[in-house]
Symmetry: none
Subunit: 208 residues, 4 copies
DNA sequence: GATGAATGAGATTTCATTCAT
DNA sequence: AATGAATGAAATCTCATTCAT
């Protein structure tokens, strides 16, 4: 019999799990192709399941998008983790490249990527702070750069990815190089202050 | 009956022109506040005109958005024009700041800003090319930078503006400083090639 | 031009008013025939209008039912008003018969009749109190009867109307006679206290 | 007690019977709390069984409601049976009170109480007829009252119970007193004829 | 020319019922 | 026999667009 405790986080039955994954994959593809305005019915059809199945797993269209966002964020966190193993303080650079590349593969949910799921974003932030510290210690990034500067860089990449997803040649690579050049130690100090972390939090908590 | 040819030529009656402007202003405000999903009816109400009037001036919701985009692009072109008068090759920098600032004021149509209206964009490009040339001649930007790099920069700014429009302190200012620092002459060459102009055109012609 | 003041309660255009009435009439018929679970689409079809038209007039299915309830309550109030003109303290009896008869003609919304629209119900109550006073003064109803007793009588009639609407012969007429006999002056006092007005209000304010 | 199970012939296994009872109890509670529109899934969850189990015992949501109605009717019959033991012809009055009280405890299925299950209702009628006869013989109820009058009274009580179930003080007690007063012997004869038994049967056979 | 009511095709979401595990 | 995931047909409601007034 089913005790109540089981209900909290029961592992999905195998077929149910397969359907959940199918729906998520279909949603990714459909959103990539037609944007977030694509209809839920189309996603269900693409996944080869009924509407009811989709809604059993994701009680809301929003929940479906959130799940995609969560997947992307988790992948990004994993990239940050792996980037920490890069030698010579190059982890940050590797991370920015890798996460931008990943976003081009999952651009469907980008419009919501930075406006939800605070928990994971906070988790990512800790890795980024460490990557930044190492980059500074290795002299690859100037001291005055803050981790909010990196956050803003990630926000900025979305615009490029969305504008250029049709191109074979990724446009963000060169752009990132310019940015990194701008982060290198330099005699010229930055004139404007960095965002304070609190301001970033504020933005994320007032998600659209 | 009004033939289509007439519309091209005949100037709008004064009250008609006023209505057109009202609708456009209302659309700007409503899209700024509630995003492009805001309903046409809300815009008509905000403008204080009937739906019929709105549709007389803009035969489609899309047409309305295009008109807003056009306004922004025209404003950007004007800024580029004025930036040419800046001394010492600083025009490009002034222009980027000014256009970013302007976008925060008109963020409603940003999602479509770079995916339509090729004509004006091409016009803007010519100014930007001249601004870039001057910046290079003054030694403020390194030689290898192309005008497609500037295009990409403008794309990138959208992400920041959309993520941070709620903040009093603009986040793009410092970001732009970092970018400009990255554009300055430097011993380290960029590794990735710039987008070719043809690639940019390709993107713009396949508007969403 | 339309000033804002006009918007408050602009009279409907003639065709719009006709459509509103059609929808209301169709809703009455459909609910009468198939109960409140009948679909809004069926009502729109029965009214010969599109869904959008229906929803322009009644932004919610609930609003549609409320409008029907309101109509019934207004009719009931009018009956109470007219009953005051009956001579010899018989107004209350006439009113109870008339309102029961009217309910059988509009049984579609009965399930919600006594669970909404407090304003009109309060208004009805004032007339009922006067009818009761007159009935007592004429010796047709015993002194200890309160107007909440009459309220409860009206609640009770719903069950009969709903159970017997298919019959040609109304069943509530004889039942009402028995009730009225029970209200006549008598040596035997009632043992249970009447509901207090506050309790009735409580019920109406916690509408389903 | 499950007389219904016998119909199939084979007695239910003990655990199956327990599940059936659980479902029925859960249905009662859920319908009481949220009305007949509550979902079958909620009932299954409240019962702690799967949907399949629920549907094994009750092939339809309707069948579930019917079973609840049947339980109530059986309880009412039992009350009638016991009321026959009351002295002095007071059985009818005791019965009406008791059955009204019981209905307030099981109001979930009231909307269907008098529109199904002819068999049990006919059985109840026989007891009621005897209660009525005794009441008349004791002079507590006037001769002209018929058992269909009592049926109508029971229908009428539903409206009160449904309107007042939130109140601590039951409202139907005083109402029943008024009704009983109306049934007492009196010089004034009733003007309208009672429903004929055939009419009542007609209603019950055309269940919604 | 202006108005805003009407349209009706979807969009999201729910739920009674079935069926694979 | 029991479970609960899957189904898919509604149901309610929205909104870009048209058209009668």
């Amino acid at each position: 019999m089913t005790t109540h405790a089981d209900l909290e986080r029961r592992p999905l039955r195998r077929d149910a799990a397969r359907n959940r994954d199918r729906v998520l994959a279909a949603a990714g593809q459909v959103f990539d192709a037609r944007g977030l305005d694509a209809s839920v019915a189309d996603i269900a059809a693409a996944a080869g399941v009924g509407m009811g199945t989709l809604y059993r797993h994701f009680p809301t269209k929003e929940a479906l998008v959130d799940a995609l966002v969560r997947d992307v964020l988790e992948a990004i966190i994993k990239m940050a983790e792996q980037a920490l193993e890069q030698p010579g303080g190059t982890g940050l650079e590797h991370f920015l490249h890798a996460s931008a590349a990943y976003q081009t593969e999952h651009r469907g949910c980008l419009p919501r990527l930075w406006s939800s799921d605070h928990e994971l974003i906070r988790s990512a932030r800790r890795y980024i702070a460490r990557l930044l510290t190492e980059a500074k210690q290795s002299g690859r990034v100037r001291e005055e750069v803050t981790s909010t500067d990196i956050t803003v860089i990630m926000w900025s990449i979305r615009g490029i990815v969305e504008a250029t997803h049709e191109l074979a040649t990724p446009a963000w690579q060169r752009h990132l190089e310019i940015l990194l050049a701008g982060l290198r130690p330099s005699a010229a100090r930055l004139g404007y202050p960095a965002l304070r972390q609190r301001q970033v939090d504020e933005i994320l908590s007032v998600s659209t």
